[in-house]
Amino acid sequence: MPAAQQPSKAESTRAAILGAATELLSEHGVRGVTVEAVAEAADVSLGLLYYHFENRQDLIRAALAEALDHYAYRRPPQELPPAERLRTALSQHVGVTTEAARQDRVYAEAMRAAAFDTAIRPALARTLEGWNGGMTRLVSAAVPQLAEAHPEAPAETATALTALVDGLQQRVRSSLLPAERGLELLGLATEAVLAGGPSDAG
């Protein structure tokens, strides 16, 4: 049978190893990803793992890229008014019990690792672009006047909001801030930047 007709055994082994590694990543972070644990979870020998990945760093890079490239944003319901869609989209990332939290943990791990390993940056940059791009569309829909004032304004506003979410999420994840307080602060900032001036939210 010609090799091209089915996903090769090597490909499916590689996929199984990557799957196990990304699973461990979102559960225990980069520190929890040891070659032994991944080999065991993927049910392959260490020798086979090293056939596919040169070393632990190579495996972590591939797993982070794999997880980041499959980062799935949950779109807020279409029937909500635009400003409400924006708030919903942002707030799903502040909190530790949400579905998004697992993916966000991997994103945070990648962010931290990228400071020392430039090979991780391209996948991370794509994820951030997607995150900013999605929020830019929601900001534009929520406040059409922003783009009229300045074509770059919706993107700048969206970037500020996603950076704030990243910061709040980090504090919630590290138990430095209760999730409810994080959401309250996010609401405050969202009102202020959408109003495009001094906040009059109480």
Binding site: A115, A189, P198
Partner: protein
């Protein structure tokens, strides 16, 4: 503790300064104590005397970085500027590619990015974050008093929000995704909402 105070304090600080550099270069998971000792030009015994284990060293370095954070220290120096401008330049000063500032930010980011396992370190981070929020709150109050800041929100909430935003931007800057200038511009989007027109 007499034994502690008899030691020249500069030795301990020299170790911490070296540790800040080494951790800034290699990260919290990969740094080697021997490199720190060598860079500080002190004996391993002296390092061990001040920091009996890795956790103690990490706590020391975190404290060292937190005490030197530009936005905590610069806020009160600029007496001439309006409260808003003093606040803005102090927060802007966090984004700087010079090794000293970058290392301090990296250490803070390394410690706070993920759940903190050492309870003593977690407590130190909590205290440092509170202190940072307090200092920024004082900056906002100064702006409210001199009329350069306007906000209907509680100053404490605005401060918390600004420091969280700085952390979010700092991550992106340290990860090489944005430049310090990008970070400042984005910070201004939120800061400008409390500037009195």
């Amino acid at each position: 503790m007499p034994a502690e105070t008899e030691k020249p304090p500069s030795k301990r600080d020299r170790i911490l300064a070296a540790a800040a550099q080494v951790i800034g270069e290699r990260g919290l998971d990969a740094f080697v104590v021997k490199d720190i000792t060598a860079r500080a030009g002190v004996t391993p015994q002296l390092t061990y005397y001040h920091f009996p284990n890795r956790q103690a060293l990490v706590r020391g370095v975190f404290q060292y970085a937190a005490e030197r954070a530009p936005s905590v220290n610069l806020l009160h120096l600029d007496r001439e500027a309006s409260g808003y401008e003093a606040l803005r330049s102090a927060l802007h000063a966090e984004f700087d590619d010079s090794p000293e500032v970058r290392d301090l930010n990296l250490i803070w980011n390394e410690v706070t990015a993920l759940p903190i396992e050492d309870p003593e370190l977690a407590e130190a981070v909590q205290r440092a974050t509170e202190r940072w929020n307090e200092q920024v709150t004082i900056g906002i109050l100064r702006g409210l008093a001199d009329g350069s800041v306007e906000t209907a929100a509680a100053p404490q909430a605005v401060a918390e929000l600004l420091t969280a935003l700085v952390e979010g931007l700092s991550q992106r800057w340290l990860a090489g995704l944005i430049t310090p200038d990008d970070a400042r511009r984005t910070l201004d989007v939120v800061l400008s909402t409390i500037r009195r027109a």
